[in-house]
Symmetry: D2
Subunit: 365 residues, 4 copies
């Protein structure tokens, strides 16, 4: 497969450039009978949408999604669901000056090497604007998972540059523009972002995603392990540089007695594994954490070269997020939901005749 | 696809259980004309092989690979390469006592949930013994990459539990049983491992992998990004809990001015990106780092349940690596090589008619 | 993969229902640099378009295609090409009466079994209207093949019910509404169709497709043989019940001495193989022939059952092609072009380093 | 995917050359819990095995299959099933004289073009010997289908060159070396084959395959239709030049009223469709027919060229089937079983939550 399709039984194929006429995608393999409207998708699109606070890009996109197929009389039919979001607020001329330059840490140089041409307007296909369609598709998966399996996929920002969330309250996540679960840290984050914007710089972030009530048994060893596919999905999000499952890099210094999650008839005593053993879900919460790099589009001049290979100073104007991590939470949720949905269908395809008598222990973190 | 195949144009399909008659695999898509013998594969298999020092499992497996097809008169023919390694030193009766138990942090519980049955001998399919075939297949990819493209894929252990390698010398890596590039730390590691073994415990580790001379342009946005597929590949290795590309989790606290790799006509000034921008290789070294959890098979008793759901104490005897990370270096190299090989073929399939005039700047770390 | 994607390196994913808001698709893997406009696609769409003669359905659809991505400044960029065609002339109320019936020889009964629901308007997803997007995508492949490789993919109607084309002139194919290469048979076909329409009945047809100047070496043994993938592609067209490559079913009664295409330094002496040996193209014309069943939507009453299982007489009004074969020629060309394009990219991906000295004999039919 | 894997959820990957050390394959995705022994596979292998009558090749191969993984205590475990058949009766020196020649109608010329090298011994990878593994894998699918779903997949030779089977009795099929259901025609076939062998020539054949008790609802529109995948599978068998589903090419001259299979509450009144409507199974028998070309290896001299492009007379000695169709029946059965098995798993993966109330009418031919 060319590279713009994700999944095996529940697949998402996307298309579209930042400054082209539209973004779009096809969700194939959604089971029939799921109640679905454009409003169901819009909720998540609005959470990812640019321009909702002063801390994100000021590009104004309604991100209004249209469902073109696959839904009849308010329910999915099992046929592919076509999605389109028209672009409305392109300011392509902002980019004419970078046409002949390679911006540092952008995909300009690599796209040019790969394809010999590039749509330089707003990053073209390499722009995170493409993730709007992932969020729309993820909303379909999330709806199915929630309604049919009671699986809840949720994310939050656990760190903004040097500032870590310490307290944790799911209810806070939707109450601030950072998706931060620690209300006390929000003012600090706001100050930090204001100073950063003034400076013309950008900053990295860490996002955590969790799925609760995941059925045990999802994931296909050995290559399509649930955690491996999740790492693939999360690393495919723009700007992500690291992925952890469960204990992640802390496992390096853990001893076996610390890391192993002991089991009792009442449940697991810990969740260092992050809900996956041998690539298969345990039934505990599926937990992942990702590192997002700072935005590369800066008003602070950087050294680079032009398309002829000569030295060139680059300053990026245009409208950008000073911390791409802020809007990444709904995207990470979408990707986890897509992985779970695909593996749920695969599992029931391959193992529907399993009538296990495995004790289904009550799971706790 | 069911889950035991990796790659699109250069694919590896594996089969085999730890205590079954044999492990095997099929490498499909290897270009014709590559000189190849079993000895080429054996070199890497011997590096991964158990029982070569007192710090790894004492199971004695020759890991002798046979090539059953795809090679004629010493060269690949373009047809699939069948590989088989017979198992010779199973001691399956060691496992009869865990038949009715779920060992904590093993795949026992999840395999049982997924499949309703499990080959409990030595972990069956979930055993890292499966990776022997990955190493054999990776050796084919590494040979092609080295001979045709001058790409060198190499790994090393950068941290063993609390002990970090500080000095760095590629030549040291093959001189000690830990794949450690810092000769001065080797005695410390030996002492640590001796104490650990005595204690009956295990420890995590960190492995780094690097590919030099990667051609720019490899990787397929948006989902099959080079870094996303690499994350998939590395996370699919047994015991891996985290993957970083380039700066990895350090990116969380970096500012844009720190993270962005500036370019000059003489080359990149840094490599925070780890050789990938927008999911496509830059031509700089491709760098990744992985976290491996401590082995879960411990002589120290742990709380668990049996297959009837009752409380049960588990002690794992049998022969195990107290640090699975030690033997993981050749496996991580193999997986990086498989990803690069696949993407090299995909790139030339899709973009062979690109005659880019993009300046190919000299790359430095 | 769910079922709405075709191809591996050059892929087409389609969506859309006959009476939904739009049809659409995504072409992924098109090499960059190909000059491409909507007008290039429209030429083929207009050849397939309904309502262009009295012998096809009278539904009026402009079949105006929009390219939503993947083309920048008039050339493809290597990123996915999004395509949309809005439906404009649905008359869905024509179908309300069949809502509760299963029309014989339609997909009504099978869709209902598979999905539990169906969009009964105009056949929903099972309508051949979906093939408009295949034709648009095929036009991209045909353009690439023609401009870069000089490959020409062309089809014609070789038989309409009992009437066979006997004379053969490529130039005639575009001169009549039947895609018939034998001008002398056109009046006979017109009379036949007029009588058939009056009768309220329908008829089958045979279509042939040929690709000239195919490079030798395309096709991946053993399962992805060029002829096997072509059979897949052609059989996936609505109403196709048979596929032949080269001699096809005549091979049953041929002796080896008749069937084998002898070779001389000047070229092949025949083409019973249809341009494929061992699943790989020979360089001779690639020839295929397909059988299309008669349209199942008839004004003549047929016995059937309703959704409650009770006996029911079905008469299909609405607007239909009395011979679906008539408009199938551009669709068959499109599918052959998609297969060739995909295999061309796969071949150069896997075997670009082959510098064969195989004599490239002049090929003749 | 490279070309040696077939299927999506139930996959078969094969490897091996006619004169290499062994043939082998991997069946991935087989549900756990199926009782399976090597003897189950051997039954079908023995039906395909060479040298069982004077009418097939005299090469003596035991075709003894070993199961290397995926089965534990007599049942499948859900992990991949590794299969190997050692080659034992190669006479490679028979082929040294054709090393420098391209045999007409063989894959010699095309393999050389594609790969630049070829294993000329016995046709290498292009030999139908590869199908032994398909038969072994097909036996697994057939067993599952029979035991769990009561689906029976059976084939027979319906025509040997000019001689058609007219009477039909399933019980006769296993009673003669031709898989012919018409006992009265067997002596005629024997005489024909004896004369043909004396002449040094070969002949084509037609094979029919039928699956009874197929559940309705299998097949994924639009590209992965059940009939399209079946056409793919059957056309991928060596020497196949045509595939028909149901009425096949007879549909060309049928009127709509003749072709449509009317339905009554008691069942379908005919089966022109061959058990598929809209690409989805109806529950009627799934019927296909294939044309096999005459063997190309003849003792009668043919015109050809050598690898330098010069004129060359070719006579093929060695041991060959004068009618490859004779041994093709078990292969065609295997391929139909693989397709059904894959689509059964896909259907239950994607649509397991369908609780259709569609009337399940009694199906008759």
């Amino acid at each position: 497969m060319a590279g713009n399709t994700f999944g095996k039984l529940f697949t998402l194929t996307t298309f579209g450039e930042s400054h082209g006429p539209a973004l779009g995608g096809v969700v194939d393999g959604c089971p029939p009978g799921l109640p679905l409207t454009e409003a169901d998708l819009q909720v998540d699109l609005d959470r990812r949408k640019p321009g909702t606070s002063r801390h994100t890009t000021q590009r104004r996109e309604a991100d209004q999604v249209r469902i073109l197929s696959g839904v009849f009389e308010g329910r999915t039919t099992g046929t592919p669901i076509g999605l389109v979001i028209e672009n409305t607020d392109q300011r392509s001329k902002d980019y004419s000056k970078i046409k002949g330059q390679f911006r540092p840490a952008h995909a300009d140089y690599t796209y040019m090497h790969k394809y010999g041409v590039r749509d330089y307007r707003g990053g073209g296909r390499s722009s995170a604007r493409e993730t709007a369609i992932r969020v729309a598709a993820g909303a379909i998966a999330r709806k199915y998972l929630a309604e049919r399996l009671d699986v809840k996929v949720r994310g939050y920002l656990s760190q903004l540059g040097p500032i870590r969330a310490e307290a944790f309250d799911w209810d806070q996540v939707s109450q601030n523009p950072f998706f931060c679960p620690d209300a006390a840290k929000v003012p600090e984050m706001e100050d930090y972002m204001d100073a950063l914007r003034k400076e013309g710089n950008s900053i990295g972030a860490r996002i955590n995603v969790v799925a609760d009530q995941v059925p045990p048994g999802l994931g296909e060893p050995v290559f399509d392990r649930l955690d491996a596919e999740l790492a693939h999905a999360l690393m495919s999000i723009n700007a992500v540089k690291g992925v952890e499952i469960g204990a992640g890099f802390e496992a390096v210094t853990q001893k076996g007695t610390e890391h192993r999650d002991e089991m009792t008839p009442e449940g697991f005593l810990s969740n260092q594994a992050g809900g996956v053993l041998g690539g298969i879900s345990t039934g505990q919460p599926l937990t992942a954490s990702i590192a997002l790099k700072p935005t590369s589009s800066l008003r602070l001049s950087g050294r680079s070269i032009d398309t002829a290979g000569a030295e060139s100073e680059v300053i990026t104007t245009g409208r950008h997020d000073p911390c791409v991590g802020i809007r990444a939470t709904p995207i990470a949720e979408a990707m986890m939901a897509l992985v779970l949905m695909d593996h749920y269908l695969r599992q029931r395809g391959q193992n529907a005749d399993v009538t296990t008598t495995t004790p289904d222990i009550e799971n706790r973190q």
